[in-house]
Amino acid sequence: MGSRASTLLREEEIEEIKKETGFSHSQITRLYSRFTSLDKGENGTLSREDFQRIPELAINPLGDRIINAFFPEGEDQVNFKGFMRTLAHFRPIEDNEKNKNLPASEPLNSRTNKLLFAFRLYDLDRDNKISRDELLQVLEKVDVEQKMSIRFLH
């Protein structure tokens, strides 16, 4: 299954993705086969439902945030390139430093981009801010009333 799927990916596409994301050829084909196996609708894009079908994600407390991170703003579908672009955030940095032939623009797995990605996971409405109120509320709510209480002082 995997090998057949990979043939559907054209060489130039692979090259393009390789350039953009820094994935290796084999990684790309492999991820492509994964992509196609996730793509139940067989239309070359993944929908939220496709992601939600991954059983492990259903039990991941952050599953939905991750899924959301795959979708560009206002869109319901993600194609393979977008998929790879998101995944590229998770490539280790070291590899990058070895290959100097990467594009001049900042690679997706740079520290900044990683942070940005993480930030976006919090920044749900994508206004590029985690507001002070949010933060305060978070801090207030995070179990403080539990953690700062001693049981027998009750």
């Binding site: 439902e49 059983p55 994600l57 039990i59 952050l62 959301n68 509320q137 995070v142 009333e145 209480s149």
Partner: protein
């Protein structure tokens, strides 16, 4: 050192008793170490020099028997030293080594000196003393002893506990290193040494090319014993460990090469024909043959354990015998015996599923003990043999050349990593490679092989022995690897487990990132190789059917279905949410929960109102979009509150001294605790709601616990049978076991004066130790029993239970006390007992009473029912039985305000849970209560 004292005392007593007290002085006086008194003792009994090579037992014993009839006349007390000598010395050795280990593990110098070094040093010291005392080295590492007894225990242990998944995931790399790398190593070392000889660097050694090749073969194999010993202490990351360790196991091919060379040497280099060189390829056959033998025995073992239900006691015996037989069989056909590790790897899953919990524990501990013994003996032997000068001859050129070549070629071998990295999903980086090359430890296998050499044919044997000893020492201990690898690892910052306590902030975020990573991995499908999936299919379709006990297998299937349904259900819920929400309104269906219902504190309440039958507890599903703020808060809340680690794929560590507490298990535990906690929360808030209804207090106790107990008991066939093993103990034990949960729960509110002691089997379970006491309401059994893959289902049932038992709790926030309670998990019972113990004197008694009728019944049932099946009916009738029993006798819990919800509601949960448990998988009710234990 107390052993020393004892030994001395004993010796002195015996000597005093002895009628003919001739050479007393010789025996008792000058022993610095305990062991030494033994070898020097012989003057008393048999003529000196009687014991030949230690441990070649039969010979020694025969001699001893012959000598037994020495002094005429009848003596009541005799000095039977020669009779007990060998085992006695071994026992003392082990004792000393073990005592040393105690010190070793408890003291600082552990951090500097690896254990194997310590053992070798100990051996050196002992050997030196023996040598000085008797002028002659009595004890030698006997190759046959090594290969027939010591090695199999170590290798068997390693194989059985090998994290199979990790091993197979890295199989490619491991094989490459083991086969290509080691062969390369062997040839290069051999040829290079020969070249050095030709160049005149090595002067005194008289050897041909063939001899050097032979030596190269035996010296180039990385040794599993040494690797295990050192790497484990260093705590490198799992992948590195599995690769080096796997390599050391699999590279037994070298022994084959070694055998081939030996045969070459035997016929003489001149007579070797070209065709014979090709026979050298036979190492492939030998390796594969060894693997096959291992697998065949694995299948047989799995098959046998299918039918051991009636003979639980000998289950472990089967395991040991089959593993050992696999080893011997492989040896018999001169196949690669080490490769029978595959026997352990292959059989593990099925055996674990088939045999009872107790047998499992027995197997684990026995294997560990045996391996530890064997290892100790080997290292001490190594030390002792090194002292014996007569056995070896020194050639500086050979030694230094060998050391250099070994190190260089090892590094070169590791250089092949860059080829491998092209195929690996997770490439090995430079640091890994350095550690790998550094970790090429030689050890006892090489030593045993070199001792095996025939001095007649290999003239340079003595030189080779010396070199091997030096190499082993050098790699294992002296400044080189054993001692330096720790600093090196530290220096290179090889990722390893840290012990620093993170701040809360760090913790939360780390967890968040862990979850993120797991999620992304899931999306990318990283860990599933396709072939692995195929294998799992095959395993499920054929092997499991063949090798797993029917009950286990069938049930697991049903449970899988159940789980699947649940997941689908969850997904559909999410889907609904997903459909409702546009991307602009990103909400987290699985997260928004408490926060999104400001007036309803407990999610479960919401669920209850909703009446959704099956519901994933795992982060509460609801599809009402919460505001951004709330969601954000919720994320943190979920993260902080549900501090459980993201699932890891495999249990990945192998340790000689500690039972691996698998990731899975740990996570299960965490999930479970979390569940219990949330349950507690619900429960507590319930209590706060209803202060007035004090009287019905006992009920709530029953409610949450009962189903759980039910489940635990029904679900695990093994467990029941386990009880069966302790024939006599059973009666006493079961009642105790029974009340455990209720009592434990009681602890949360009013600890009874005595906490029921957990069954013996539990007390030493690994996870128990690390957590401290189990969380209050957690039935210890339950955690253990629930199979990993069913955890989810389990959670669900709990959560639904929760949802029912808790009345809608209005805006009142979770009570601090409650949460603190639940948070404290372990220590709670203890701390709690203090203030309240006096308060509820009667808390204890009713419980056992209530439970007493139950075991009886259960027992009967067990006797009657072959299939370990308890019809749900039985439990159902138990239910009412128990509740009334408790109600009257239950005292109000001492300290906290008396709680709970009305009794009418109370019964529901049980029933509900049951229906929940039974219905989903398609109406087949009973299988559900029998949850398979398939860990």
């Amino acid at each position: 050192m107390s052993s020393g004292m004892k030994m001395l005392l004993l010796g002195v007593t015996l000597l005093l008793l002895r009628a003919a007290g001739a050479d007393l002085s010789g025996s008792a006086a000058p022993h610095p170490g305990p062991v030494l008194s033994s070898p020097s003792a012989p003057p008393l009994g048999p003529p000196p020099g009687a014991p030949g090579v230690a441990l070649s037992r039969s010979a020694v014993e025969e001699e001893q028997e012959a000598e037994e009839h020495h002094g005429g006349g009848y003596r009541v007390v005799q000095w039977e030293w020669s009779y007990v000598q060998t085992p006695y010395i071994i026992a003392i050795w082990l004792l000393v080594a073990s005592v040393a280990k105690i010190f070793h593990f408890s003291q600082r110098f552990t951090t500097v000196v690896p254990e194997s070094c310590m053992l070798i040093l100990l051996g050196l010291v002992l050997g030196g003393i023996v040598l000085i005392a008797s002028k002659k080295q009595l004890y030698q590492l006997d190759p046959s002893l090594f290969f027939l007894f010591l090695l199999p225990t170590i290798v068997g242990d390693a194989g059985y506990f090998m994290p199979a998944r990790l091993f197979f995931d890295n199989l490619g790399s491991i094989l490459t290193y083991a086969v290509v790398g080691t062969l390369w190593n062997a040839f290069c070392t051999g040829f290079s040494l020969y070249a050095a000889k030709l160049l005149g660097v090595i002067e005194r050694v008289q050897a041909e090319l063939m001899d050097f090749l032979l030596f190269g073969a035996l010296i180039s194999a990385v040794d599993p014993v040494a690797v295990l010993a050192v790497f484990e202490e260093v705590h490198v990351n799992e992948m590195l460990f599995i690769i080096v360790f796997g390599e050391s196991l699999v590279n037994d091919a070298v022994t084959v090469l070694y055998k081939v060379y030996i045969s070459f040497v035997e016929v003489g280099p001149g007579n070797v024909q070209t065709a014979d060189y090709f026979k050298g390829v036979s190492f492939l056959i030998v390796s594969i043959g060894g693997t096959l033998v291992g697998l065949v025995f694995a299948v047989i073992l799995g098959f046998i354990t299918r039918f051991t239900k009636k003979v639980r006691i000998i289950e472990p015996l089967f395991v040991f015998l089959m593993v050992y037989l696999a080893y011997l069989t492989a040896e018999l056909f001169s196949l690669s015996a080490i490769l029978m590790t595959f026997c352990g790897i292959g059989a593990n899953k099925y055996v674990e599923a088939n045999i009872s919990q107790k047998s499992r524990t027995t197997v684990k501990y026995t294997m560990k003990t045996l391996a530890s013994i064997a290892e100790t003996i080997i290292f001490i032997f190594l030390g002792i043999s090194a002292v014996d000068k007569s056995k070896w001859a020194w050639d500086t050129g050979l030694v230094s050349c060998t050391l250099v070549f070994i190190f260089v070629f090892r590094a070169v071998v590791v250089g092949q990593t860059w080829v491998l990295n092209r195929f690996r999903l997770v490439p090995l980086d430079k640091i890994d490679q350095v550690v790998m090359s550094y970790g090429g430890l030689r050890g006892a296998v090489a030593f045993a092989l070199v001792v095996l050499l025939d001095g007649e044919q290999v003239k340079a044997k003595d030189y080779f022995v010396a070199t091997t000893i030096v190499v082993v020492f050098f790699t294992v201990m002296f400044q080189f690897q054993g001692l330096t690898i720790k600093p090196l690892v530290k220096w290179l910052k090889v990722p390893r487990s840290t012990n620093r306590k993170p701040t809360i902030n760090e913790e939360i975020h780390e967890r968040a990132f862990d979850h993120i990573l797991t999620a992304v991995e899931d999306i990318a499908g990283l860990q599933g190789y396709h072939h692995w999936r195929d294998w799992e299919q095959f395993d499920k379709n054929y092997l499991s059917k063949l090798l797993l006990r029917k009950s286990v297998y069938r049930k697991s299937e049903l449970w899988e279905a159940y789980q699947k349904i649940n997941i689908r259900d969850a997904i559909s819920v999410i889907d609904q949410g997903g459909n409702v929400l546009t991307s602009a309104r990103l909400s987290l269906p699985s997260m928004a929960s408490r926060a999104s219902f400001p007036e309803v504190t407990n999610v479960t309440n919401y669920r209850r109102e909703n009446g959704s039958g099956v519901c994933l507890d795992l982060q509460v599903i609801d599809n009402v979009p919460g505001s951004k703020v709330e969601e954000d808060m919720e994320t943190h809340h979920v993260l902080a509150g549900n501090l459980y680690k993201p699932r890891k794929r495999y249990q990945s560590h192998y340790s000689r001294h500690f039972m691996p507490l698998g990731e899975k298990e740990r996570q299960d535990r965490e999930v479970f605790q979390r569940n219990m906690r949330s349950r507690m929360e619900t429960f507590k808030s319930t209590r706060h709601k209803r202060h007035k209804k004090e009287r019905s207090l006992k009920k709530p106790v029953v409610v949450p616990v009962e189903p759980e107990e039910d489940k635990a008991d029904h679900s695990d066939p093994e467990k029941e049978e386990d009880v069966g093993i302790t024939f006599v103990a059973r009666k006493a034990e079961t009642p105790k076991q029974r009340p455990k949960s209720p009592a434990a729960l009681d602890v949360c509110q009013s600890p009874p004066p005595h906490t029921p002691s957990p069954p013996a089997a539990d007390s030493h379970l690994p996870w128990k130790g690390s957590v401290g006491a189990p969380p209050p309401c957690v039935s210890v059994e339950a955690t253990k029993i629930i199979p990993v893959d069913l955890q989810q289902a389990w959670n669900q049932s709990i959560s639904s239970l929760e949802s029912i038992s808790s009345p809608p709790a209005p805006a009142e926030p979770v009570h601090p006390r409650v949460s603190a309670l639940s948070r404290l998990g372990g220590p709670r019972p203890l701390s709690y007992t203090g203030p309240t113990a006096g308060g509820s004197p009667s808390a204890g008694p009713p419980l056992p009473q209530a439970s007493f009728s139950f075991p009886e019944r259960k027992k009967k049932q067990q006797v009657e029912e072959e299939e370990e099946e308890e019809e749900p009916g039985a439990s159902q009738e138990m239910q009412p039985l128990m509740s009334p029993l408790r109600l009257p006798g239950s005292p109000p819990p001492a300290p906290p305000p008396a709680p709970p919800p009305g009794s009418g509601r109370r019964r529901n949960p049980c029933v509900y849970l049951r229906s929940l448990v039974t219905t989903p998988p398609g109406g087949s009710s009973e299988p559900h209560s029998h949850r398979p234990t398939q860990l």
